[in-house]
């Protein structure tokens, strides 16, 4: 977020604090290690963002997925909530196919972890994380685009 407008940083601070407050609410949890801690933080971040997006009415319309301007939307849109709700659903679907890839996305995208940190958290190699990340993006993009594909 370096170089971005101050507004972003401040909001991110508030967001992180929200994650923190939720973390401290998880009483009786003993973090097994720092990787576990970050995995949990990433999951919480996902939940907070998606909850917030849903609560603002970005409900998935209709039964299908009708996304717009996906190529850049998640990156630059000021209103990416719609995309986020859809992404959350897509991610849940991905988890059913390959839960580790879903975890990688959660940590990389929602948790902001690097490849190295994700590798450590999941106890896999960096190459595995890279491959998972690539594959997950392809899969999610296809899912979000609503492309028909065979559930073989």
């Amino acid at each position: 977020m370096k170089g971005e407008r101050t507004g972003h940083t401040l909001q991110a601070t508030a967001l992180v604090n929200e994650v923190y407050l939720r973390l401290i609410e998880i009483d009786h949890v003993q973090w097994q290690n720092r990787a576990h801690f970050f995995a949990m933080a990433a999951r919480l971040m996902r939940r907070i963002l998606v909850d917030a997006a849903r609560s603002r009415g970005y409900l998935k319309r209709g039964g299908g997925v009708t996304m717009v301007s996906l190529d850049d939307a998640l990156v630059v849109s000021n209103e990416p909530g719609e995309d986020l709700v859809a992404l959350d659903d897509a991610l849940t679907a991905l988890a059913a196919v390959d839960s580790r890839k879903s975890d990688v996305v959660e940590m990389r995208f929602f948790g902001g972890l690097t490849i190295e940190e994700t590798a450590e958290a999941l106890d896999v190699s960096r190459d595995t994380v890279k491959r998972d990340w690539t594959m997950a993006k392809l899969w999610l993009l296809r899912e979000l685009r609503g492309v028909e594909h065979d559930d073989v």
Binding site: M1, K2, G7, H8, T9, L10, Q11, A12, A14, L15, V16, N17, E18, V19, Y20, L21, L23, I24, I26, D27, V29, Q30, W31, N33, R34, H36, F38, A41, M45, I48, L49, A53, L70, D71, D72, L74, V75, N78, P80, D98, V105, F109, F110, G111, G112, L113, R131, T134, M135, K137, L138, W139, L140, L141, R142, R145, V147, H149, D150, V152
Partner: protein, 959 residues
């Protein structure tokens, strides 16, 4: 879809991606081999490749503007919240925005901290927060930012806080020059002291900050420190074991790297990072971080990423070398104790930190350290009364206080009465008190030799019990005399050697009788006088229990395998006053001992201190408290310490520069007797004359230093060892200016340095990682590096290394994997280290023409034969000369002779051409010479001399 199928798809995707785009179709057609469904699946995924790069390439939080509270940052400025007029945005802190506001009702300026909407929405969270806020509002201290109340208006909940003007410590640290330098020591200590006061007050009430960091510490323009943001602290439960604790501190954002969401957690304690329960010791860790940052300008545990940082917190030590050279050793030690990873071993009481800082800062214990009068504390009742049961709170605090163990260890000697028991010239020592506290026995040289003396307290009469037997000798580390269990006899050792035969002599004098047998040492009788504990001078120094007459001795069985390691020592066992424990000093060498205890029946011994210092005498004064004599880890002292055996908190109980070399307590612990000594060590100069010089020829070698020893000349500089309050470091006197070359941080130098012939470089022998190593550096202390790390240097206190006249080599006495010997070490690592001679050899010196090295051979009859060797290893026959064990030997600058110190501490000259010796100086003045050197003009000898005046002191503790 089966996972098998999915793996197949994934595999093909990766393989296809590895091919150039134009080759993929062909590749896939072949690879899918007619499986059209597989082909379509893979192709549909690969079709997304062009979008994949931009997809999710910025973390979600960075673009999720809408996920934060309704109003925009700073949106409340100019508006009203209840009776508060919002003036300006102060910042965005722990939980949300903080505004400056005017309280119209009370007509004062306040700070308002908005709480996240979650607080309003969730009743459980709200209730819990209100409980916490109640506790926090009870904190009333000039160094804590006060919470006035918690209010609600226009659907927002907010805390009303004391408005603190000024900058945060984080800002103050950032304001310094780049690269960060830290604050001046005085300022850092003043700030630290006030933080300690704030934490002390919070801890007293069971409140742990949990998120102490420079951003949460404000300094008013008057210099008053205010600790902020106890807002996330939760009341720690009475027993500290409840898991209902904050699991981690506030994580603040860091803009140091794109994509970092969870910013630096640099002040987290290891237990926080692990998500374990935290208590006030977490604050002590964080305090250590803040103190370290104030001193160095850097956080102690910094990583590129959060996981990096946490990894360092969990596994690494801070960079101790980053501390400014002027950092007092006591402060370094304090930091060391704050940064113990295991909270159980960490310093556990912030109040103790305060005492240490006062000692370092030179503040008398009773003096106030708050920089100005406390600010008036506004009443909190208006906002709290509706929902605070103050009486309930008070009762709760009282109940908690009652259950809280006395954590702050009082100085057991705080109200004691000290009186001088002897004030004789010369040496008194080894004082022991009878079990009933009525008699004192000690060694003294009042009659010319060391004898055993006894005196009844208050009688003023002293009896020499051993005037007609040979002198006893000093015996520093081990007890060599004491009272029998019934107090009717005194035991002592012959010749002051702990393993020498022991004798018992009646208190009133008479004929000594043999006792205990050779090899056994330091007997101590149980409080009921039924049993005896002692140690045997053999491998592992095992402890033995015997009956009161020393019959029926059997070793205490210790059930830790290898505990009594070969070469380790267990010294000076004593009984606890209730007879339940035996305390003893244990360690691998006498300079690295700790206090341990074991049941008289044996079993698992328990380590009570983590000092690794020269622990010698132990004296329990009640079932919980032990006094003991030990050097500090920096080598200073010995001082007198106390130990609370339950909390394992230990502290130095005597201040000042007087050394304590023995301590002993009566059975009821109310009367203590100690040996106090005052040692001076200075340099002296004596000219080389045609006749033997005498005492009157000796003049002080005047240096602007209160202490100096181990002189070495090089070029136009004089190097020597000296201390400023702590262990001895290396100093340089050059052109009338004194400068510190190498500072003793947590060790003390005892060997003279080797100095290059032009005086531009020095090599010191410094203890690191448990072994003595050669460290070479420029004459100003820069460019220090370890030389010949494979060699452990032999430390004999009189010189272990010397520089070759051409400046290229150092000859040193030490040992490597092949054993002891002399080694030729290239100074610039330009070649291999060469073994010159093998054997237990000491003090090699290089002749001025470079052709001869003279060294001390193995001790023969208490004397050291001087031997010669050429640098190529050829032995050189020298006239038979035997030097004393102290002092060593040095060449005259013209190389014609060698000066050495005889056993009787007289200087002699060996004329190498004439192969004759003659006395240079005869000293009658008492004192101990450790090292000397010849001035570069060859006209004088400069030597160090220690003089000790020791006395016996009686310490009466209040009943």
């Amino acid at each position: 879809m089966t996972s098998e199928r999915w793996r197949q798809i994934e595999d093909l995707c990766h393989k296809a991606l590895a091919h150039p785009a134009e080759e993929r179709t062909a590749f896939l057609a072949t690879a899918c081999a007619g499986d059209d469904i597989l082909l379509r699946e893979v192709e549909s995924l690969l079709a997304e490749e062009s979008s994949a790069d931009a997809f999710m390439n910025v973390p979600a939080a960075a673009v999720a503007r809408w996920a934060v509270p309704e109003h925009a940052t700073g949106a409340l400025v100019g508006r009203r919240l209840g009776s508060y007029a919002i003036r300006s945005l102060l910042g965005v802190g722990g939980m949300g925005e903080v505004y400056r506001a005017h309280d119209d009702t009370l007509g004062r300026e306040v700070a308002i901290k908005l709480l996240p909407p979650a607080f309003t929405a969730d009743p459980d969270r709200r209730a819990r927060f209100e409980r916490e806020a109640r506790m926090l509002a009870s904190l009333n201290h000039p160094n804590i930012c006060a919470i006035y109340g918690l209010e609600e208006a226009q659907d927002s909940r907010f805390l009303i806080l004391e408005l603190v003007e000024g900058e945060t410590l984080a800002e103050a640290l950032a304001a310094g020059s780049a690269p960060a330098q830290g604050l001046p020591l005085d300022k850092a200590l003043s700030i630290a002291r006030q933080i300690v006061d704030a934490l002390d007050t919070a801890h007293e009430k069971g409140i742990v900050h949990r998120d102490l960091k420079p951003a949460n510490i404000k300094i008013t323009p008057d210099g008053i420190v205010k600790v902020l943001d106890l807002g996330l602290a939760k009341a720690v439960s009475a027993d500290g074991s409840s898991p209902d604790l904050t699991q981690s501190p506030t994580i603040t954002i860091s803009g140091t790297r794109d994509g970092v969401i969870l910013g630096t957690a640099a002040y987290m304690s290891p237990e926080q990072a692990r998500g374990k329960a935290v208590d006030k010791r977490t604050d002590i860790w964080a305090f250590g971080c803040v103190l370290y940052e104030m001193l160095t300008g850097h956080v102690p545990f910094a990583g590129e990423t959060v996981s990096d940082t946490i990894g360092k917190i969990l596994e690494r030590e801070p960079d101790w070398t980053a501390l400014p050279a002027a950092t007092p050793a006591a402060l370094r030690r304090l930091l060391l104790r704050c940064f113990v990873k295991d909270p159980k071993q960490r310093l556990r009481d912030i109040g103790e930190v305060g005492i240490e800082i006062d000692a370092i800062h030179g503040v008398p214990p009773a003096a106030s350290h708050v920089a100005a009068t406390p600010l008036p504390q506004p009443k909190t009742s208006r906002t709290w009364l509706p929902w605070v049961g103050l009486a309930v709170l008070a009762a709760g605090v009282a109940a908690w206080e009652a259950r809280r163990p006395a954590i702050v260890q009082e100085n057991p000697l705080a109200n004691a009465r000290f009186s001088r028991f002897t004030d004789w010239e010369g040496t008194e020592g080894g004082a022991e008190i009878s079990p009933d506290g009525k008699f004192v026995a000690f060694l003294a040289d009042r009659d010319g030799q060391l004898d055993l003396w006894v005196s009844q307290v208050g009688s003023g009469r002293f009896l020499n019990l051993t005037g007609d037997i040979p002198p006893l000798g000093g015996g520093g580390l081990l007890r060599i005399l004491g009272f029998s269990g019934d107090g009717g006899e005194i035991w002592f050792t012959e010749a002051g050697d702990s393993s020498a035969p022991k004798w018992l002599i009646p208190l009133s004098g008479g004929t000594p009788r043999a006792f205990l047998g050779q090899g056994n040492a330091a007997p101590s009788w149980s409080p009921d006088d039924a049993r005896l504990v002692f140690f045997r001078n053999s491998d592992g120094d095992p402890l033995f229990i015997a009956d009161r007459t020393s019959a029926d001795a059997r070793p205490i069985v210790v059930d830790i395998e290898g505990f009594f390691a070969k070469g380790a020592h267990s010294h000076n066992p004593v009984w606890s006053p209730d007879g339940q424990w035996i305390y003893f000093a244990h360690g691998v060498n006498v300079e690295e001992m700790n206090v341990w205890r074991v049941r008289p029946s044996g079993g698992t011994p328990e380590q009570l201190t983590t000092l690794r210092a020269a622990v010698t005498r132990l004296a329990p004064i009640d079932p919980r408290t032990l006094l003991y004599v030990a050097r500090a880890e920096d080598g200073s002292g010995p001082w007198l310490w106390s130990l609370d055996v339950e909390t394992k908190v230990t502290r130095r109980v005597t201040s000042g520069l007087d050394h304590y070399s023995s301590v002993s307590a009566s059975r009821d612990g109310r009367r203590v007797v100690a040996t106090v000594s005052n040692r001076t060590t200075n340099l002296w100069r004596v000219p080389l004359l045609d006749r033997p010089a005498e005492d009157r020829d000796v003049q002080p070698y005047v240096l602007p230093s209160a202490r100096a020893l181990a002189p070495r000349f090089g070029g136009t500089s004089l190097f020597f060892l000296a201390a400023q309050g702590t262990g001895d470091g290396l100093w340089r006197f050059h052109n009338g200016n004194l400068s510190e070359v190498w500072k003793a941080a947590d060790t003390s130098l005892s060997e003279p340095p080797a100095v290059s012939p032009d005086g531009s470089r020095v090599a010191i022998i410094v203890r690191q990682e448990g072994k003595q190593q050669l460290s070479v550096m420029s004459a100003d202390g820069t460019n220090a590096r370890t030389l010949a790390a494979s060699i452990t240097i032999q430390g004999a206190g009189k010189g272990s290394a010397d520089w070759s006249p051409d400046g290229k080599w150092i000859v040193a006495a030490g040992s490597d994997a092949q054993g002891s010997g002399l080694f030729i070490i290239p100074v610039d690592d330009s070649g291999p280290v060469r073994r010159l001679v093998s054997g237990e050899l000491v003090n090699p010196v290089w002749s001025p023409n470079g052709a001869l090295i003279v060294y001390g051979g193995p001790v023969v009859g208490g004397l050291i034969p001087l031997l010669g060797v050429r640098p190529d290893g050829t032995p050189v026959e020298l006239p038979e000369v035997r030097a004393g064990q102290r002092g060593g030997h040095r060449f005259l600058p013209n190389g014609t002779g060698l000066v050495y110190l005889s056993r009787s501490q007289d200087f002699w000259l060996l004329d190498l051409a004439a192969k004759r010796t003659r006395p240079l100086i005869r000293l009658t003045d008492y004192g101990t010479v450790h090292t000397f050197d010849i001035t570069p003009d060859g006209q004088s000898i400069v030597f160090d001399r220690s003089r000790e005046n020791s006395d016996i002191v009686l310490i009466d503790l209040p009943k």
